[in-house]
């Protein structure tokens, strides 16, 4: 499989606390990686670094084999890294099509081409099975529909790395099913790598190709899903195994 993004020894400290400790991993095309861990494990720190919200203290990021440094989320987005947050990263008071093209508007003679944006966003959403009027306000959509719009946007604009931060939290069972199916559909249709951050192992196990576990900022497991199971992952998340191996976590304090 072709590599898309790779990190080498990413480290981030907040004062004396180590939020991310030498984390290295590789994500490939058409691969879904489940990124799991307890609260404070470093999942958010890792994805915030990858999306350009802040830089790492140490370590490197490679995109398509080239070392990159993101100066802002806009910079990361331009290079093909997009994030979808738990409570959606759409602007509620705006219609779907304006959100869909936010930051990538179609301009015709210096003026916004709303007609073209409406048409294209409806077409793009239809491609992944969402039939919604482009004029509908985001605040009128359910949680699952909002996630669908964000996923459709990432798919349409040829995102290389899609970071999903707890995309199924707060959704109804039906919506969880739909969202997971859409993520699979996007994995199959597009050439992107998807990093799915979640607490819920039952949501990630059926669709992830690989699972990565963080514990107190360290990567403690990185395995193909078919070679692991919920029991093992639960142990790693709660660090029963790691504690037995004895990791000196006071070294930075």
């Amino acid at each position: 499989m072709e590599e898309i993004i790779r990190t080498e020894n990413l480290t981030k400290k907040y004062d004396t606390m180590v939020a991310l400790d030498n984390v290295s991993f590789v994500a490939h095309k058409k691969e879904i990686i489940g990124l799991v861990g307890d609260n404070g494990a470093g999942k958010s720190t890792l994805i915030n670094i990858l999306v350009g919200l802040f830089p790492p203290d140490e370590g490197k990021i490679f995109l398509d084999g080239r070392e990159v440094r993101f100066t802002s989320p806009g910079d990361a987005r331009k290079r093909g890294i997009e994030i979808v947050y738990q409570f959606s990263n759409l602007i509620e008071g705006m219609p779907i099509y304006k959100n869909f093209f936010m930051g990538r508007e179609i301009i015709n003679r210096g003026i916004l081409d709303n007609k073209a944006m409406r048409k294209e966003s409806e077409y793009a959403l239809d491609e992944i099975g969402i039939t919604k009027s482009a004029d509908q306000l985001v605040e009128e959509l359910s949680g699952g529909q909002r996630q669908a719009v964000s996923l459709g946007r990432a798919f349409h604009f040829g995102t290389k790395v899609l970071l999903l931060d707890e995309p199924t939290t707060g959704l109804s069972l039906k919506e969880v099913d739909r969202t997971l199916n859409r993520i699979k559909l996007i994995r199959d249709k597009a050439n992107m790598s998807i990093i799915f951050v979640t607490h819920n192992l039952r949501h990630i196990m059926p669709i992830a190709d690989r699972i990565m576990v963080l514990y107190h900022g360290e990567k403690v497991l990185d395995k193909e899903t078919k070679h692991t199971n919920i029991a093992e992952l639960t142990k790693m998340i709660t660090a029963r195994i790691k504690e037995e191996e004895h990791v000196d976590r006071t070294k930075y304090i």
């Binding site: 989320p73 806009g74 331009k78 994030i83 947050y85 602007i91 509620e92 008071g93 936010m102 605040e139």
Partner: protein
């Protein structure tokens, strides 16, 4: 036959619902009702002379309200607009009378002073991250202080001939400030609805975090909104000096909260991300009409202040209720 009647009825309901779902339409209906009632009760109100006076009176404050609306849409707040009006009002007179500079140069420089005040406000809010209420309140005092220190509280009179055209001139029987109001409203409407920067101002007001993740330069956009507001306040200060034929150290200072009221009555949200310029026009018109009614009814100006306070309270309450309703959906 029965079916077609039912269809017509349901279409009518849908049409009514679509009209009432738009805040600006609702406020327009309220405005028309107010006009209808007042015209019936006060015959003096509906004379063309009085109507022109009303429009001329609210035109300048509504221009500032439109600037305030741009800031509110982007999620900010500007409590210094009244002080900027006072500063530029005095500045244009000072440059013409004490420095002897040409009218055109003084007018441009005074408007640019307004723009600079807006940029300073924007820098404090967007770059230094000071709460907009505190930053603009403090800067308002600074702008007023500059005026008081420079003019020592004295008005500036004997403005040069020719300057009065801006505020007192007519074209086709209509006062020039009304044309200014219309032209600025059209430009701002096009800017907000048809340009990328306009759309981004709504975006940062709707959700700064989402806008940041979409790659928008939220700081620069915020500065843009304050500089537009400062420019419009500066322009109004200049035209006000022309209309009054003199400059006063406190001219325009009481306008700050009415500009917020006009914007909020017109459907602009104090929470950011929502509002239209034509709504602000109606909001400004409603305030102007109410003011005129009080004058025509010979109600004391002390009561007018009290009533203005209640109107502002009413407007922000409506906005808060609107927001709560959205959260419940």
């Amino acid at each position: 036959m029965g079916d077609s009647k039912r269809t017509a009825k349901s279409l009518g309901k849908k049409f009514l619902a679509s009209i009432l779902s738009n805040d600006e339409n609702v406020i327009l209906i309220v405005f028309i009702v107010i006009i209808g009632i007042v015209s019936a009760i006060l015959p003096k109100f509906r004379t063309s002379y009085n109507i022109l006076i009303v429009i001329r009176q609210f035109s300048l404050i509504t221009i500032v309200s439109m600037g305030q609306a741009v800031v509110l849409i982007s999620g900010g707040f500007d409590l210094s607009v009244g002080n900027i009006v006072a500063l530029t009002n005095m500045a244009v007179a000072y440059m013409m009378v004490f420095q002897g500079w040409p009218i055109w140069l003084s007018v441009i420089l005074a408007i640019l002073i307004g723009t600079t005040c807006g940029i300073i406000n924007g820098l404090l809010v967007a770059k230094i991250k000071i709460n907009p209420l505190i930053a603009t309140l403090a800067m308002g005092w600074v702008y007023s202080g500059v005026v008081l220190v420079t003019a020592k509280g004295w008005p500036i009179t004997d403005l040069p001939k020719g300057f009065d055209v801006l505020g007192q001139g007519y074209f086709l029987g209509i006062p020039l400030p009304i044309y200014f109001l219309i032209v600025i409203a059209i430009i701002l409407t096009i800017f907000l609805s048809k340009t990328i920067s306009g759309r981004y101002l709504y975006a940062i007001g709707g959700s700064e975090k989402s806008s940041l993740l979409a790659g928008l330069n939220t700081s620069n956009l915020r500065m843009l909104s304050y500089s537009i507001c400062g420019t419009l306040a500066g322009f109004s200060g200049v035209v006000l000096a022309s209309r009054m034929g003199s400059a006063q150290a406190n001219a325009g200072e009481p306008w700050t909260l009415p500009t917020v009221a006009a914007a909020v009555i017109g459907g602009v949200s104090l929470f950011g991300g929502k509002g239209k310029i034509y709504g602000v026009l109606i909001g400004g018109a409603i305030l102007g009409v109410i003011n005129n009614i009080l004058v025509l009814m010979k109600i004391s100006s002390y009561w007018q202040t009290l009533i203005s306070g209640f109107i502002l309270l009413f407007a922000v309450s409506i906005d808060a209720i609107r927001k709560r309703r959205e959260l419940l959906i």
